[in-house]
């Protein structure tokens, strides 16, 4: 084998090696992300509300309200405007060292009783009672006019 052929073969091998090294380095983050699926599943409603820019201090209440409307046969859907969430009134109380957040806000719901074709959104008052380490309790009642 002459010198030129050896040089060409060597440069080809080097090229292949560097290309595979580049591919391996570039692929590393992707593989790491794929393996990241082992983490515990977060509450997607909460995450979506935060990512949309919802107030973090009331996001758990709103996520619980979505869940409440989803599983309560008395409701079809729930929604609120950004103005309504800005007007949400939050307070805190403490009993025996345990903190509870109380949230009150206006929201709109659709109920199964509404006309099937022209379902109107009804204005409601949403209440959340959120202990610092427990389940958020949600209640909804017609808004005072």
């Amino acid at each position: 084998m002459d010198w030129r052929a050896l040089k060409r073969r060597f440069s080809l091998r080097c090229g292949a090696l560097s290309a595979s090294a580049v591919a391996a380095f570039a692929g590393l983050p992707t593989f790491a992300d794929a393996a990241g699926s082992m983490q515990p599943k977060p509450n997607t409603d909460f995450r979506e509300l935060i990512i949309k820019g919802e107030r973090p201090e009331i996001a758990a209440c709103l996520a619980a309200a979505i869940e409440y409307a989803r599983h309560n046969p008395g409701f079809v859907a729930i929604r609120w405007s950004s103005d309504e969430s800005d007007q949400a009134v939050m307070g805190e109380s403490e009993m025996n060292g345990h903190l509870t957040r109380h949230i009150r806000m206006k929201a709109q719901v659709k109920t199964p009783e509404s006309n099937a074709f022209f379902r109107h959104w009804q204005s409601m008052e949403l209440y959340c009672e959120q202990p610092d380490d427990g389940i958020v309790r949600v209640s909804v009642k017609p808004a005072a006019r």
């Binding site: 570039a26 983050p29 983490q39 107030r55 973090p56 009134v89 959120q130 610092d132």
Partner: protein, 414 residues
């Protein structure tokens, strides 16, 4: 935030990354749905593209140019490989509250001198910080809106206190210097409710009999963005005013009954400085930095307290840190010296981070803050956490931060 804005943010972060490190590398901020690939070509790759364009134009006549092109090909790949190799020295990216931003910037500079790695902190407000962390666009977030355990568990988050600072009312009144104006919580609440609209109102004049207050309309300045400073300030107003508690409550973002909004502590400081008759609320270090006149506030003991480092420390000493997630808001605390509105800046991190190197570097940086950051914090009028037992509890909780294989990322300081 729109996808377009998020994309622009990603490009800006990548550029910052390239400028800091001298070379582009994959960055946690570029891992969003909109920036899965490197947004900026490697500088050598860009030069190579330019030369190959010329070489194509002149064909075989440009042999030296083609040699140069080969050289650039080799250098660009090795540069890329080098930048990936350097990526193991992960750059920490934090985002969130503007409240502790001066301290974070000071710590980042000092940490860079000590370790050679410069963390990047974006002062975007507590709400936006939590949003970026949740979207995995930051390695840690700083928030002055502490999350309860219920909220933390919704997205495998961990929370711990880093530093405390005083929230102070600041005014721009002709003839009134720093610490001269006296206000009570209920009067402050009436001003922000829009009930007291003039500086010479009876309620204000009675609290300040030694001076004649000017006949000027009160210009209220509040935060327009989701803000932890607002959360702490409204927490205080809810504590001292039943009307505030009933009508507006506590919040990082509110439907304000009076005034104009400004972004960040910087925005409020500038607005107050530029508006005669203005009143706003900012973190104490901003009041010092912008040379704003702070007001005295009547505390729980009934004494008028002046904003000072001593008054801040007096309030911080009453913290218990016993609740889950170290949840603590230090408003209206006992003590003659105690400043009545003190906010704590909390760090938020994921328990299951996607990028191990960045998570380890974040914890290393936070450990450095607890171990060596106190002088910088004190210089900037913050109260650092110096209780060894508390810091021990915080750092031992970091063992819950685990990688994909379930292995703890924090194994102690290096």
């Amino acid at each position: 935030m729109s996808s377009n804005r998020q994309f622009r943010q990603c490009i800006a972060d990548s550029l910052a990354c390239a400028l800091r490190l001298g070379a582009f590398r994959l960055h946690s901020n570029c891992r969003t749905a909109f920036c899965e690939r490197p947004a900026i070509p490697h500088p050598f790759a860009r030069a190579r593209g330019f030369l190959s364009g010329i070489a194509r134009g002149c064909g075989k006549r440009c042999v030296p140019l083609q040699r140069l092109l080969r050289f650039f090909w080799a250098v660009s790949w090795s540069g890329l490989l080098l930048s990936y190799a350097c990526a193991s020295d992960a750059q920490v990216v934090g985002a969130g509250a503007s409240f502790p931003a001066p301290a974070l910037e000071g710590w980042a500079k000092a940490f860079a001198r000590a370790s050679g790695s410069a963390p990047l902190y974006r002062s975007v407000g507590s709400g936006e910080g939590v949003r970026r962390l949740t979207a995995r666009n930051a390695d840690f977030a700083m928030t002055d809106v502490p999350l309860t355990q219920t909220e933390l568990s919704q997205d495998d988050l961990m929370q711990f206190p880093v530093v405390a600072g005083a929230v102070v009312p600041v005014v721009n009144l002709p003839g009134v210097r720093d610490g001269e104006l006296k206000i009570t919580g209920s009067v402050l609440s009436d001003i922000f409710l829009g009930r007291i609209t003039n500086w010479n109102a009876t309620a204000l004049q009675e609290l300040n009999p030694e001076r004649r207050l000017p006949d000027l309309p009160i210009r209220v300045v509040h935060r327009a963005d989701g803000s932890g400073t607002t959360f702490v300030f409204t927490y205080y107003l809810s504590r001292v005013s039943p009307e505030w508690r009933e009508r507006l409550g506590i919040g990082s973002r509110l439907h304000w009954p009076a005034g104009a909004g400004a972004n960040g502590n910087q925005g409020v400081s500038q607005a107050v400085r530029n508006t005669v008759g203005a009143i706003g609320y900012v973190e104490y270090s901003y009041a010092v930095q912008y040379d704003l006149a702070t007001a005295q506030l009547r505390n729980k003991a009934g004494k008028f307290a002046r904003a000072s480092d001593a008054a801040l420390h007096a309030a911080l000493s009453s913290a218990r840190w016993s609740r889950p997630g170290f949840y603590e808001i230090l408003v209206d605390q006992e003590g003659d010296e105690s400043w009545p509105i003190v906010g704590v800046s909390f760090a938020l991190i994921h328990k299951s981070p996607k990028r191990r190197a960045e998570a380890a570097a974040t914890l290393e940086f936070l450990h450095w803050i607890y171990a060596h950051g106190a002088p910088v914090a004190r210089e900037l009028h913050y109260a650092p956490l110096e209780d060894a037992a508390l810091i021990g509890r915080i750092e031992s909780s970091w063992t819950q931060v685990r990688d994909d294989t379930g292995k703890s990322i924090w194994t102690g300081a290096h």
